[in-house]
């Protein structure tokens, strides 16, 4: 694994915007004084007259994006997940979600892998917040390939989209030459029969590593990359859970309201089976190197393995 290419999905976002900019001129990119960090600075460098910085004013960021979208164009609005989904939640709900406008929110620095900045900037609540907004599409890409595909798919669809990107460089799991991405369709990364692991974001890689280790113990794990949290691929979840009878969900997000909750909603109604939710357990994060934090909070392959063993023991 040592020579696997690693890319932070925020970088993928910036690069995808530049690629998209070469093909279309009916969109602009907005940021709130974080262009270097969110990587929209790449777009700014390539197309300076199609980039607007609203300054440190996230409420206005979302409102301006909504106004632009109302004129028939597309606006990408970028800041950290904490401020996009947290500080500007009500602007996203009322100015973007309610009128169902074509705003694509690129939220970076999500989850505890923000690292050293600590709890104030580690947003573990954004998936929960965003998926409660009617008509909001919520995408959490796992790697560079998927993140770039997500940006293109978000641009191509009608309506508001929340895209969640990370700060930490993560392995490129998917081959860009051989990759199909469809919003709302999960990807079976590995087939198995004993347990279903549903993951999103950087936890997909952790799940794949865990599945490898579990195989050596004779446990056959199916791994699903559930990049779209909303609309959720209910059919795939039910199909897999019906086969394995055990489910583990993995996300770099609170166990309250995120992917795990969404999966449990589906299973409770359509295929009740034991579920273990792996995520941040209703606590705030803290400062530290991202990889160390992920380990401390159980958001790594070892954590996934433990969750699988727990659900199999039930």
């Amino acid at each position: 694994m040592a020579d696997v290419k690693k890319v932070a999905t925020r970088v993928s976002y910036g690069e995808a915007l530049v690629e998209l900019g070469a093909e279309h001129d009916n969109f602009v990119v907005l940021d709130a004084d974080l262009a270097a960090a969110t990587q929209t600075g790449k777009f700014k460098a390539a197309y300076p007259d199609r980039f607007y910085d609203v300054g440190i004013a996230e409420q206005n960021l979302m409102g301006v994006a909504a106004g632009i979208a109302s004129t028939g164009h597309v606006a990408f609005a970028s800041t950290f997940a904490m401020f996009a989904a947290g500080r500007a939640f009500e602007q996203v709900r009322n100015s973007i979600g309610y009128p169902h406008l074509n705003v694509k929110i690129g939220a970076t620095h999500a989850g505890i892998s923000v690292g050293e900045d600590g709890a104030t900037h580690q947003c573990n609540e954004d998936i929960a917040l965003m998926r409660t907004i009617p008509g909001m599409t919520v995408i959490v890409p796992s790697d560079d390939t998927e993140a770039k595909a997500a940006v293109r798919a978000a641009y191509a669809m009608e309506g508001p989209v929340y895209m969640r990107f990370g700060r930490l460089a993560v392995p490129v799991v998917n081959d860009p030459e051989n990759f199909d991405f469809e919003i709302g369709k999960g990807i079976v990364m590995r087939e198995g029969t004993d347990v279903t692991i549903v993951a999103c974001g950087l936890m997909v890689q952790a799940a794949l590593e865990a599945a490898e280790a579990l195989a050596e113990k004779g446990i056959s794990a199916e791994v699903i990359d559930m990049h779209t949290i909303k609309p959720l691929d209910e059919e795939l979840i039910v199909k897999s859970a019906s086969k394995t009878g055990r489910v583990v969900t993995c996300e770099e997000h609170s166990v309250i309201g995120g992917l795990g909750s969404a999966v449990c909603d589906v299973l409770a109604a359509k295929c009740p089976v034991p579920v273990e939710k792996l995520g941040v357990n209703d606590v705030f994060g803290e400062s530290g190197p991202a990889v160390d934090l992920l380990k401390k909070y159980g958001l790594d392959a070892a954590g996934v393995e433990a969750a699988v063993e727990k659900v199999l023991a039930r």
Partner: protein
């Protein structure tokens, strides 16, 4: 239209406000009545709009940032022919296209969904920016309450509009002096309003009587000639204007007239133009 014709329109709008809020048994007549003359001027004189083609691409845009005064905007749109005046009697009723606060996807002629204070001005700024960016000539108007400007987002939006010299944007503040909990001085004064907008690089027009049609006309004509800066029209108005017992009364911010009050108010307006 002449000023007299516009005064007549404003009076019809006031009647529509009362019809709507009376039928709804709720809603916000006070701030709808204070802005009736501005609504009339915008939709019957100032703005390029077409009731037969409410979404035409080159239309001027209007954002009711003080979205709770939807009864005033609905009465204006009905008077202008965007939908039948009878619809006003369905205001706030279940299944009606006339929601308690405006929704652009429900009602013909509404350019933005608003109601949560402070948010409309940002969307208007976005529209004005889009017009500049893609070289469109339409203008954007947004109406705010003087209580609404206590919201911090208003000043985020104003800062951006001023810095980008959005001279296709006109921000109107309906300065009627009252908000829900009392006078704006009692609650948390945002005054001096004109100086604040000047500080944010706006061309400010102080409209001494926003219920006087000749003065309203003069303000918007001045606004149209401004280049290189967004315009703020700070309009001194009377909350509840046109209905004697509602004028300058805090209590009529968000209270509907009962049957008796409705009859009296309509009788007063019937004596007008």
């Amino acid at each position: 239209m002449t000023d007299d014709e516009l005064r007549h329109v404003a009076n019809e709008i006031r009647k529509g406000v009362l019809v709507g809020t009376h039928a709804a048994k709720s809603g916000h007549p006070g701030g709808s009545l204070s802005a009736a003359d501005i609504f009339a001027y915008l939709y019957f004189e100032e703005m390029n709009v077409d009731p037969a083609d409410p979404r035409k691409a080159d239309r001027d845009r209007f954002v009711l940032s003080k979205g709770h005064t939807a009864p005033g905007l609905y009465a204006t749109l009905a008077e202008r022919g965007f939908f039948p005046k009878e619809d006003l009697e369905t205001l706030r009723h279940i299944g009606s296209h006339l929601q308690g606060h405006p929704n652009m996807n429900d009602t013909p002629g509404i350019d933005m969904s608003t109601g949560s204070l402070g948010q409309g001005i940002s969307t208007a700024v976005g529209m004005a920016l889009a017009a500049k960016h893609w070289g469109d000539s339409y203008r954007v108007y947004t109406l705010l309450g003087d209580g609404e400007i206590e919201e911090g987002q208003v000043w985020e939006a104003a800062m951006f509009a001023g810095n980008h010299a959005l001279d296709n944007l006109v921000v109107i503040v309906d300065h009627n002096g009252l908000q829900i909990d009392g006078t704006i001085e009692e609650v948390n004064s945002a005054m001096p309003i004109a100086d604040k907008f000047r500080a944010f690089k706006f061309h400010v027009i102080e409209l001494a009587d926003g219920n006087d049609m000749a003065q309203v006309r003069a303000a918007f004509e001045e606004a149209r000639a401004v280049k290189g800066a967004p315009v703020a029209i700070v309009a001194e108005t009377v909350k509840g204007k046109g209905v004697s017992f509602m004028e300058n009364q805090v209590g009529w911010h968000g209270t509907a007239p009962n049957d008796e009050q409705f009859e009296q108010a309509m009788a007063e307006l019937a004596k007008e133009a």
